[in-house]
Amino acid sequence: MTFSSYAERRGRKLDEVHVLSVPLSRPRRTRVIVSARVVSAVTILVVLAVWALSARLQLVSPVFLPSPVAVWSKFIAVASDGFVDATLLQHIAASLWRVFAALVAAVLVGVPVGLAIGISTVGRGIFDPLLEFLRPIPPLAYLPLIIIWFGIGEPSKILVITIAMLAPVALSTASGVRGVSQERINAALSLGATGGQVVWHVILPSALPSILTGLRIALGAGWSTLVAAELVAATRGLGFMIQSAAQFLVTDVVVMGILVIAAIAFALEFTIRRIERALVPWAGRE
């Protein structure tokens, strides 16, 4: 397109000097940018509104869907008076303890296993098939076996969650180890590092960002397994609370329990991201 045709199309004469100052591609009007956060907040508000409205209009029986207000007042009530012999805080504490004990166990086992897979072919030969075998099995499937072996006590519950966390921790560690730059290892060796020193001073810190990602995935897997682990012979815990409330059709406690689990999972995710930023500030900046 020539200047003249552009000018003529606009219905102006070419000898008007200012025509030439019109840029051929004009800047577009800036679009109103809505942040994802705002959209998310609106979405949540809409869901809440639909929920409240359907409860208010009695579209669904409260046995199936209690109103938000009922759930909130139940939250207050359970927080102060408790539900099935334990306050909400005690239920939360019991669940958190199980998840964190399992996390510690999964790290103590999973990180060395991941190192072995990433560093040595023998290690990979031993652990890779075991992990690939364990990974796709749903926790509910091996729960009965673990109860047969270890009884219905606390260790069984923690073990089930640990097994669910093991694969993500080990596999993330292994992939972090495999990603360590050879030059960095060579530099350490040429500065006099022994094999063990290379693992401790170079490979482990290099793999740390990947390990932390593994922990985040593992926590998610752990929470999903929690309810299953608390199905059997628990007297406390969020999963147990939801389970026993469901048996008596106390739906508002069920909904409240679900929301509490979601809130805690969200808080944990947020915390780990903060820890990541504090512990591995170099990630993505090399």
Binding site: N186, S190, L191, G192, Q197, H201, V202, V280, P281, W282
Partner: protein
């Protein structure tokens, strides 16, 4: 006086029919500055890795004062093109890495690391994080880290390759100052012809296919710099221009134009 000797060294990597290096002999004594130059594929980095103990030669021998080299060691510290610094450590902690491996006390480590940072003209930057440093500063940290190991030989694998021209020129003088100060023997790989002339006391020219030594020059430009003559004057000298021509010819000798 320690001597690093590569005698008739051949390197053939797994799965490759042609050797990367064939019967190359190189000698570095303390106080030497030996530069390996050549077109790409001539095996100069392979030879440096052999000297470092990171690559085991398939033929010939590598010795330091008659003792065979079978593994990497702090007596032959390497500086790589991509600095290979540890981003989880500060600049000072990077420099002190070799000392930490040996169990040197923290206060002593810090003192010596700071002295080395001053030597590479980075005083006051010890607390900075690696990702905050420019490419040139990172290479200075890399040099100081290698020197902290108190090596007899410094092996430099295109350490200035990734730097811009101005930074590179300043780093060349730093390298010469360090070399003079420490008295180590240096073996350096570069593809900069001028750089080889400015820095080296001996320049070894390699040719590819398979990598082999084709020429060796003794040069005196770096000694002239150490005697106090500015680098710029040396580079402007007609003798320097002649040497550059001769070296360029040697590198491209036998190449189909």
């Amino acid at each position: 006086m320690p001597r690093l000797v590569l005698d008739q060294v051949s390197v053939r990597y797994d799965g490759q029919t042609r050797p990367a290096v064939e019967r190359a002999s190189i000698e570095v004594a303390s106080g030497d500055f030996v530069v390996l130059v050549g077109r790409s594929g001539c095996g100069k980095s392979s030879l440096l890795n052999v000297a470092a103990g990171l690559v085991t030669p398939t033929g010939g021998s590598v010795t330091v004062d008659g003792t065979p080299i079978i593994a990497p060691g702090a007596d032959r510290a390497v500086v790589f093109q991509n600095d290979a610094l540890f981003p989880w450590l500060t600049a000072r902690e990077n420099v002190a890495f070799a000392l930490r491996l040996r169990g040197v006390r923290p206060s002593e480590r810090e003192r010596r690391a700071d002295a080395l940072l001053a030597l590479v003209k980075l005083e006051g930057s010890g607390d900075r994080r690696i990702w905050e440093l420019s490419g040139g500063m990172r290479q200075r940290v890399g040099l100081a880290r290698a020197l902290a190991a108190e090596p007899q030989f410094l092996l430099l694998d295109e350490p200035l390759g990734a730097l811009d021209a101005l930074t590179r020129e300043r780093m060349q003088t730093t390298l010469l100052d360090i070399w003079k100060e420490s008295g180590v023997g240096v073996l350096m790989v570069t593809h900069g012809i001028e750089e080889a002339l400015v820095l080296g006391t001996r320049i070894v020219v390699l040719a590819p296919g398979p990598g082999r030594v084709v020429r060796a020059f003794e040069t005196g430009f770096s000694r002239r710099y150490l005697a106090g003559e500015p680098l710029r004057d040396i580079k402007a000298d007609s003798v320097f221009a002649a040497a550059r021509g001769e070296l360029t010819d040697a590198i491209f000798e036998g190449e189909a134009a």
